[in-house]
């Protein structure tokens, strides 16, 4: 049997499975770190957006506008090509985490901001009347309620982040998509490589998406 999906091609792919396992783990590692920083950026910018300081607002909006309206590929090109010229040397993983976090953080900030706005203002006033400071009422009263609203869209952003980590293939990031691209090019075996790469991404993303969907359904029912 010949053709792109011949038995020989499958055997070749499976005999090199450890190469792909390494890429898979690297994808997980980059995504996890990226997600942590995304949440931090999203929380900080999202809360700042609820303030009234014009300068801060303009800064936050500028950040979100730029990072949402330019492609991640270009952003990664910039980190990869420009930072070394400024004397900042980062490894590909660091660039990946930075790039993914700044990009997804711009969306996360939107989610945090609208989740906080969705909590009735009476909650903040009530907290104030009980002697909570702004920060205290944020942490103890507003955010716990906002998390319920913001969690489903945030989970979808996590899936986007994992999928977008594939962009690191452009700078030889060593993650799963890079492994698929380079291994298939070296061995000229495409069929099994792409199918198995798809399956590996599905293994990470599908459970998270389905989880997000279930949460969405539940929150709709509760409204």
């Amino acid at each position: 049997m010949s053709g792109p999906f011949s038995l020989h091609n499958w055997q070749a792919w499976f005999s090199d499975w450890s190469y792909f396992a390494g890429g898979f783990l690297r994808t997980l590692y980059i995504s996890l770190l990226g997600l942590v920083f995304t949440l931090v950026i999203g929380l900080v910018v999202g809360i700042l957006l609820c303030g009234k300081n014009r300068g801060v607002l303009a800064l936050c909006r500028g950040y979100m506008s730029f990072f949402q309206n330019t492609p991640l590929v270009i952003q990664v090109f910039i980190y990869y090509n420009v930072l070394p010229k400024l004397g900042i040397r980062l490894g590909v993983i660091a660039i990946g985490v930075l790039g993914l976090a700044l990009y997804t953080g711009a969306y996360a900030a939107d989610i945090v901001h609208s989740a906080i706005k969705a909590v009735p203002t009476g909650q903040l006033e009530a907290a104030h009347s009980q002697g909570f400071s702004y920060l205290q009422s944020m942490i103890h009263i507003i955010l716990p309620q906002a998390i319920k609203i913001g969690l489903p869209p945030m989970t979808n952003q996590a899936v986007n982040l994992i999928k977008n980590s594939s962009v690191l293939a452009v700078i030889a990031g060593g993650e799963l998509m890079y492994c698929a691209d380079s291994w298939s090019g070296d061995n000229l075996i495409y069929g099994p490589t792409f199918v198995m790469t798809g399956v590996l991404y599905l293994c990470i993303c599908l459970p998270i998406s389905l989880f997000a969907r279930r949460m969405e359904k539940r929150s709709v029912r509760n409204v």
């Binding site: 792109p4 506008s65 730029f66 949402q68 309206n69 330019t70 492609p71 991640l72 590929v73 270009i74 952003q75 090109f77 910039i78 090509n81 420009v82 010229k85 400024l86 899936v159 999928k163 977008n164 980590s165 594939s166 962009v167 293939a169 452009v170 998509m177 698929a180 691209d181 298939s184 090019g185 495409y190 069929g191 792409f194 790469t197 798809g198 991404y201 599905l202 993303c205 599908l206 998406s209 389905l210």
Partner: protein, 226 residues
């Protein structure tokens, strides 16, 4: 450092480079426009399939949407480029269409579901059949909530075309990469200016669409009766 901007300008803003980037931009817009148009067609069909009572059609659409949505677009782009005989631009369009149709289907489905159930019952009581109800009652209302996420998706698709740079398609991102490697582009200023220019091009185009999307979202919210 960063003292020689005048020189950087003279190096980056040459007719040759600008024309080259312009050609890349045209290809980017071509890929995006055709992909969006095709995705609207296939996405709407998929979205309607997902919402029918026909179990088989529903399952096919659901599996397609869930599988495609959870795989990176880049995999489709690489697979289309290396496993089909399509020319570069067309293989990019094919990959983007496969991917974006699934997203559009979800938007369409969300829009259809956002129309209150009572509308179906009311239309049936007035003697509308299912197709008539869909066409005259449901779709016009669904469009109101669909428009904003759909236009946001345009922005995403325009950005997504940049993934085609990975397989060496001559769209804006790849052409910028080529220019960056050109022998005349040397200093930090040159590179910064080049990428700022490219980022600005993407930004201006996308900002127009995201502005429209935001306005549409405002309009849709105003129209909702709760």
């Amino acid at each position: 450092m960063f003292s020689n901007w005048a020189h950087a300008f003279s190096v980056v803003f040459t007719p040759k480079i600008l024309l080259y980037l312009g050609q890349g931009l045209l290809n980017t817009l071509y890929i995006a426009a055709v992909s969006i148009t095709l995705s609207l067609v296939f996405g709407t069909i998929l979205g309607l399939m997902r919402n029918t009572k026909e179990k088989l059609l529903q399952t096919i659409a659901a599996v397609y949407i869930e599988v495609v949505r959870n795989i990176p677009l880049l995999l489709f782009i690489i697979a289309m480029r290396f496993m089909t005989r399509l020319p570069p631009l067309e293989s990019g369009i094919a990959a983007l269409t496969v991917f974006t149709s699934a997203i559009v289907a979800e938007i369409v489905r969300g829009g259809l579901n956002s129309v209150a159930k009572g509308q179906w019952e009311a239309a049936t009581s007035q003697g509308f059949n299912r197709v008539q109800t869909m066409w005259y009652i449901i779709i016009p209302q669904a469009l109101r909530s669909i428009r904003s996420p759909l236009i946001s998706q345009f922005v995403t698709t325009i950005k997504d075309t940049s993934f085609c740079a990975v397989v060496g398609t001559y769209e804006l991102s790849f052409t910028s990469k080529i220019v960056a490697a050109h022998r005349t582009i040397v200093t930090a200023e040159d590179i910064v200016l080049l990428y700022l220019l490219v980022a600005l091009i993407y930004y201006v185009i996308n900002r127009v669409f995201s502005g429209i999307a935001r306005r549409e979202r405002g309009n849709a919210m105003k129209g909702v009766v709760r």
